[in-house]
Symmetry: C2
Subunit: 145 residues, 2 copies
C-alpha cells in the first residue's frame, strides 16, 4: 500500500499503453495530456469538453472508451466523489484520500497512509490485498455536526 506509484509522464504512460499492444492515437494523446496537465479530478463530461477545445472532432464514445482503457491499464483511478458520475485522476497523483462532508459538500484531502494500518491488518487476517487508493470518505465536518 505504502509503495508509491512513480511519477507519470506522457512518455511513461505511452510506454505502458504500447506494452499492452494499444495504438497511440491523437485522441488518446490529447486525453492523456489533459489528465496529466490538471490537478482536478475530472468526469467524462468535463474531459470531453476540455479535449473538444483542442480537438473538436472528439466523440463521447472515444472519451468513454479511452477512460476505460486507461483505467484498465492502471494509469488512472476511477472514484465516486459524489458528483453522480465517476471522476478520473492520474494514478501517481492519487496518493491521497478525500473527506467529503454530507452537510456542506466541502472536500478535504488526507494522506495516503491513513489506511496503511488497516491495509496491513486486512492482509494479515484475510490474505486480501485491499486496493485502498484514492478513497472518498463521506461524513460530517466540524461545522455541520
Amino acid at each position: 500500500m505504502a509503495d508509491q506509484a512513480p511519477k507519470m509522464t506522457m512518455e511513461s504512460a505511452v510506454e505502458v499503453l504500447k506494452r499492452q499492444g494499444c495504438r497511440i492515437t491523437p485522441q488518446r494523446i490529447m486525453i492523456l495530456e489533459y489528465l496529466l496537465s490538471t490537478d482536478d479530478h475530472v468526469t467524462a463530461e468535463e474531459l470531453y469538453e476540455q479535449v473538444k477545445l483542442m480537438y473538436p472532432h472528439i466523440s463521447f464514445s472515444t472519451v468513454y472508451r479511452t477512460l476505460e482503457l486507461l483505467r484498465d491499464a492502471g494509469l488512472i483511478t476511477q472514484t465516486d466523489l459524489g458528483k453522480g458520475t465517476w471522476s478520473y485522476h492520474p494514478i501517481d497523483r492519487a496518493d491521497h484520500h478525500h473527506l467529503i462532508c454530507l452537510g456542506c459538500g466541502e472536500m478535504w484531502e488526507i494522506p495516503q497512509d491513513t489506511f496503511d494500518e488497516v491495509h496491513r491488518q486486512i492482509m494479515e487476517r484475510y490474505s486480501f490485498d485491499a486496493l485502498m487508493v484514492h478513497y472518498a470518505i463521506y461524513g460530517r465536518c466540524e461545522r455541520c455536526r
Copy 2:
C-alpha cells in the same frame, strides 16, 4: 463508530417513519418487510421483483421513492457492491464491511470495527466524523493475486 444501531423491527421502523410525518402505506410495509426478512443486500430491481410476488401492483417508481425515503430516514444503507447499481440493506445489519475481489468477484464480510482506529484518527486530526459504515473494499484475494 463503534456505537451499534439498535435491532430494527417493523414496529421501530414504522415509528421512525411516522415521526417524520410519513404515511404508512401497504407498499412501504411490503418493502420494509422484505428488506427486514432477508440477509441479502438487494438492488432496486431485486426488491421490485420480490415485492411484486406478494403485491403485483407495485411500481418501480414506488420502489425507488421508498428506497430513497428509507435511506434518508436513516433506516437503510445504500452501497455500491459492484453490481453496477446500488444495493440496500437495513442499517442495523450493516455492522460489517465487504471485501470484494476484482479477480473472481467473490465477496467476504469483515467486522465493523476494522475501521474504528482510522475513524478515531480522522476525528482527532480533522474533526471529521467519517461515516465508515458498510464499506465495499475492492482488491485481490489470495488465489487471484
